[in-house]
Amino acid sequence: MSVTLSVNGSQITVSDGSSVLDAINQSGTYISQLCKDPDMKPIGACRTCLVGIDGMRGFPASCSVPAAEGMVVETETDRARDLRRGVLELTISMFPDSDENTNGNHKELSIAAKHHGLDVSQWEGRPRQPVDVSNPVFDIAMDSCIMCGRCAQACQDGHQFIGAIDILGRGTEARIGTFMDRPLIESVCTTCGSCLASCPTGAIRVKNDPPETDRTVTTTCPYCGVGCGIQAKVDVNDNIIEILDDPDNQSSLGMLCVKGRFGFSFVNHPDRIKKPLIRKEGEFVEVDWDEALDYVVERLAEYRGDSFGTLASAKATNEDGFIQQKFARLVMGSNHIDHCTRLCHSPSVEAMLTSLGSGATSNSYIDYEEAGCLVIIGSDANSNHPVAASRMRRAVVERGAKLIIINPRRIDMCDYADLWLRPRPGTDVALLNAMAKVIVDEGLADSTFVSDRTEGYEEWWSTAQKYDLDYAEKITGVTADDIAEAARIYASPPFSGSCLIWGMGITQHTMGTANAHGLLNLALVAGQLGRPGSGISPLRGQNNVQGCGDSGCVPNSFPGYQPIGEESLAKFQQAWSNQPLPPDPGLVITEMVPAMDTGRIKAMYVTGENPLLSEPDLNHAEEMFKKLDFLVVQDIFMHETARIADVVLPATSFAEKDGTFTNSERRVQRVRKAVEPVGESKADWEIIRDVALRMSSRLGLELEHEFDYSHPSEIFDEMATLMPIIAGISYDRLEDEGGIQWPCPTPDHPGTRFLYESDFPRGPRAKFVGFDQGPVAAETPSARFPLILNTGRVLYHWHGGTITRRADNLLARSPELTVGMNPADGEKYGIADGEWIRVRSRRGDLEARTVYTERQRIGEIFVPFVKLQEHAANFLTNSALDPNSRIPEYKVCAVRVDSVGEDRGVTANRRPVATG
């Protein structure tokens, strides 16, 4: 439906629900609009979009009048202009300094004033509140604020759902402030910068004014798996100066978090590796590309076949991943290729492959918004997937969805929860089995779904039925009532369906695969799968961890999850010059490491990963890597793994290359080159192409034509021909339509919002798989190591911190490692709040600052796994593996804490700011 109205004599047709202001904007006529953000609801505060409308009294604010058929709108009558000018004059006069009290450099306000011929206000300026400089990234300067309210709107319910800032005070005392009028840094502000992005006058501004923009490039955020759209602003010197949100991106809807918006300075950090390096007589020596590539080829040629292993990067593009697995299989003859998913979601993938036949998130972020119930288990979405978390909060706040949090740690999302279950670490299997039993016992199971679309029910039930509520209460520490209530809400949400959302709290356990099956069984028994507003979501960590697996960087299948077998071997051999391919599945990373010890793996090619920070029990892992004959690391920074390599090849960051990322909701999105490569760095796909070409000619493999790519789009075209899940996607479509969600089998297919509507990749039926609760963890507290260590992340850092330590804004917000500790434990072990302490496990130790917090239960401490000041949680963690997925148990190990006696932190002389 649309309506047509007249704007200054032109007929303008707008969609139903548009405002008169929308119609004016569409007509191309300029009209001032200081409080109306293009992506948000009208506020109506600035009163500068007043127009005349035939038949309406006075001059209404066009933002708040719905466009109606046949309306006659005039924007430029004398009275309308006079009124707008008068309001703008009052607006300018809010600035205190009389010199400023003119049409100065106040962005949208200055444009509006100029348009109305307004230079100087007849009114004197007035006093304003002091500037809030407490946030290290940006200031809130009331002396440039016109109280339009956009920043508060952006922060509040309806947009980011954070609620750090709002309008305080009445009349001319009105100001932007925080709860209890404290400095911004002490509020719940997450520094996402939505306020800054929406400010029309520059009152909220970064500490240092960015230079002028030369061009803007639309691309995709390089941090987490949410896959937010970003617009990189670049200056004439080829520096990214600012990142803006992309309101057209269907995954992020114009939102960003602190990392996406402010964490870009790593791109041009002086630490970037700018030339290839070869270790000569123990020292790295800068060499040119020819020498480096020849050396790599020369050495690697000795290790073709079973002794070669490679790690692909979940931060790199799909095209980078595809060419890497092609190189490994076709040129090096090895299936030993893996990536970091082994360390995060391999239990989820393992369980989903067994039960459903596909390892992807089944639904989309929009399903969170439409769900009647969200269960978030083992995921601190606010810290790790901030924009997806905003969309979850939208469901709760705007649509009244029920929110159930299952987490031993009190995460911020608990503020929105209807129910928070706090199980003992490692007891999820018992909890999930008990929930399933309630669903069955109380007749809440979806019996049609179970009988028509599942198998293995009876066998599973023989396991699950043992978990009555009292038994589960004993194991988990969650009351029977809460378990039952959670089960009831999940199985019978107040409207629509229920979504299960989980993270590393489920997977990084020795029971990881069992936990994931527990979740899948729950979804199957309640039939919460395969329709809008329902589904299962393992939230993906890395920006392209989905795509890295999709493109074949796994040891047991070809691209597009085509398991290695006769059929797929034939297909890929035929596609790839009828060359032989290794017929057996290769080793996963957690198997490759021990294989270094036994001498089976002798050479490794590591791209964009830092296993010597991300592996558990780092001291042991380093020993293993040092046993390799030959190690190539291809990355943007010199990190722990690169430091022991034989060759280091300088790769480009996301900002310097083209390609695609696939996000957590299976949306394939374009990555576009914004700046030229730093130094002599090259895109991963270029480097591997060059290695492959040289290797082919060195060994006479005659495979040069298989790597003859000049642009990533050519790689993508090949992927589309070989991978049915993305067969219908092309760069042209991504250009025209934005991101597309796979499966997308044909060029006219719109993409797929949710999976499993009628069947499953494994067949018509999904499979119940029952597990009993096993030992809660491989390592439990003892007299010597009395505390349980839980690891995770903080909002301001990315994983191990190799990147975010080099993003000034993020480091400023969170400069040192913190240990979250319950005050009762502090008292028990004689550790004061803010004290610098040492944490030890059987495997290593770290130093960090204590932060007292009720988030942690007594007896449990929390350390994010970022490495700051050379301290990292993975020196402590246990390498015990889940037998099914081979994931290490990062989430639980036993530790002790001791005072260090002196403060060695970087904020030793500053007031500490809690970030944990």
């Binding site: 001059f59 309008i167 009349g171």
Partner: protein
């Protein structure tokens, strides 16, 4: 009048009325009733001391009835004595010394001729029996026909109730005068799972005290009107929004709701009709702007006290996004009368299209300040002179403040202006919620206007630019104008700018005191004498 169709509801109601009447009669039969007028204003004049004195004196032959204030403010504290034979006498301006039961009951002549004259020219619909009904007892209200309109409404259809209300041509009495029937109909016709009725008892502006008197004197009448509204729009939740300072009002409405709930007139399955309705009391968030209906909604929901954009209007998306009828207390106090009378009995009061009465809060330099309920169309002269008794002492009327800080001031030559909805004069004078303040020659009109302007600046919520920035600038300019540092044109332009560009009613009327002052009293704002008299 609504027409009864359900005998079962009616018989339950009859039983309620009968037992209430019996209870009340058993307390008062054969006794002399001493009716004390206790409201927030008479309390400040010492009514509590009078009540304390009388309470100690009542004996087997007499009983003390606590009524609300009858609006005869100048007579407070006052009591009315009603003997078993029906004769009654009025005693005004009592002191603890003169509050002597035996002497009060021995009077045979009416001791309050002034009060009688003040009351006799009024037509009391909303205020009827205010001051004689026992304020804290549902029994007396029921015995006097109270809740019969509610019972009849339940036996009628919502549509016929709305039609009847539309026929009555009742307009909202909070100051905007929107037709009440159309508002109800709009809310009813908006598809929704749930709807709300909000009773706006914020009454935040200076010089206005009618809603407080209604809540204190006839709380059940407002509750009854709200219940009928809820039934008519298919709402099951009523919220009373009572000014944060109006403690006695809140106390009496709360008591009324409890009593009506206890008798089954509120709650589940009211009188066996199958209709469920609950009532909740909320206190105002402080500030004039909270009387703006969308600001009121924001504060009920826990948001900042600032207006929302319209559209959507509250009848489409009000409280918690649901269709909501927001009616002023006085509006709802008219509803029981309208429902239990034929249409023309109501429309014959007033002035043609503008049916019914309006309660004027009369204050200032008049001899007889108080609550004046008169037919719409009554002139200001009748209000100030015939009812108010003219100007106190030997002073002269120099100006009339009409409608509070959102309106303006009239000169004496406008005394023959009839009161009616909307603007009384296009220089920014409107009736508003009905405050009339007589200003005599001991006061300076400039100061009155400046006061009103300052009030608006102080009460601006700060959301929209013209009101937040413009209202204080108006005060500054007023001072500059009298000091001849600025022109009256500048002042007038600013006042018009703020009026024409502001978001809500407060800002859109904030220039009116100045515009009317400039129009009617140009000499006071410029010229040699300026304001310096």
């Amino acid at each position: 009048m609504l027409h009864v169709v359900n005998g079962s509801i009616q018989s339950r109601m009859n039983a309620l009325v009968q037992s209430a009447t019996e209870r009340f009669e058993s307390r008062v039969a054969g006794k002399t009733r001493v009716v004390a007028h206790v409201g927030h204003c008479s309390l400040s004049a010492g009514a509590d001391e009078i009540v304390r004195a009388l309470r100690q004196q009542v004996d087997d032959d007499s009983t003390l009835i606590m009524a609300g204030c009858d609006g005869v403010c100048f007579a407070a504290p006052s009591v009315e004595v009603i003997k078993p034979d029906g004769s009654h006498t009025y005693h005004q301006n009592l002191t603890p010394e003169t509050a002597d039961l035996s002497s009060l009951t021995s009077f045979t002549a009416n001791a309050g001729p002034e009060a009688a004259s003040f009351l006799s020219s009024q037509v009391r619909v909303a205020l009827s029996d205010c001051g004689s009904l026992e304020a804290e007892s549902i029994d007396h209200y029921l015995a006097n026909g109270g809740y019969s309109a509610w019972s009849e409404a339940l036996q009628s259809t919502p549509e016929s109730i709305i039609d009847h209300l539309k026929d009555s041509r009742l307009r909202g009495r909070g100051g905007a005068y929107f037709p009440a029937g159309i508002k109800w109909e709009a809310a009813r016709n908006t598809r929704a799972e749930t709807r709300y009725v909000v009773v706006n008892c914020e009454e935040g502006e200076p010089g206005l005290f009618k809603d407080r008197h209604l809540m204190e004197g006839v709380p059940h009448r407002i509750v009854e009107g709200a219940l009928i509204a809820a039934y008519a729009i298919d709402s099951h939740q009523i919220i009373f929004y009572i000014n944060a300072e109006a403690n006695l009002s809140s106390q009496r409405i709360t008591m009324a709701v409890e009593q009506a709930t206890e008798l089954g007139l509120i709650g589940g399955d009211v009188l066996g009709s199958g209709f469920d309705v609950q009532v909740e009391i909320r206190r105002g968030a402080g500030g004039y702007v909270c009387g703006d209906e969308t600001t009121l909604l924001n504060t009920v929901e826990g948001y900042r006290r600032e207006p929302r954009l319209r559209p959507p209007f509250p009848t489409e998306a009000g409280l918690w996004g649901q269709p909501t009828v927001i009616n002023n207390a006085e509006t709802l106090a008219n509803v029981p009368y309208i429902m239990s009378h034929e249409t023309d009995e109501f429309t014959s009061i007033g002035d043609g299209d503008d049916a019914g009465t309006k309660i004027i809060s009369l204050s200032g330099s008049v001899k007889r300040p108080g609550l004046v309920e008169v037919p719409i169309g009554t002139t200001l002269r009748q209000v100030i002179y015939d009812i108010g008794g003219g100007i106190r002492g030997d002073r002269e009327l120099t100006a009339i403040g009409v409608g509070g800080p959102s309106s303006g001031v009239f000169p004496p030559d406008m005394l023959d202006t009839p009161i009616k909805p909307g603007f009384l004069h296009d220089a920014g004078v409107m009736l508003g919620a009905g405050g009339v303040i007589a200003i005599d020659d001991s006061m300076d009109v400039f100061e009155v206007v400046r006061n009103l302007a300052q009030y608006n600046a102080d009460e601006s919520c700060g959301k929209c630019t013209p009101c937040r920035e413009g209202t204080p600038r108006m005060v500054e300019l007023l001072d500059e104008v009298v000091n001849r540092q600025a022109s009256t044109d500048q002042l007038e332009n600013l006042a018009r700018l703020v009026n024409e560009t502001s978001l809500c009613g407060l800002g859109q009327a904030a220039g009116n005191p100045i515009l009317s002052g400039l129009h009617f009293f140009p000499d006071r704002f410029a010229g040699d004498q300026g304001a310096g008299k």
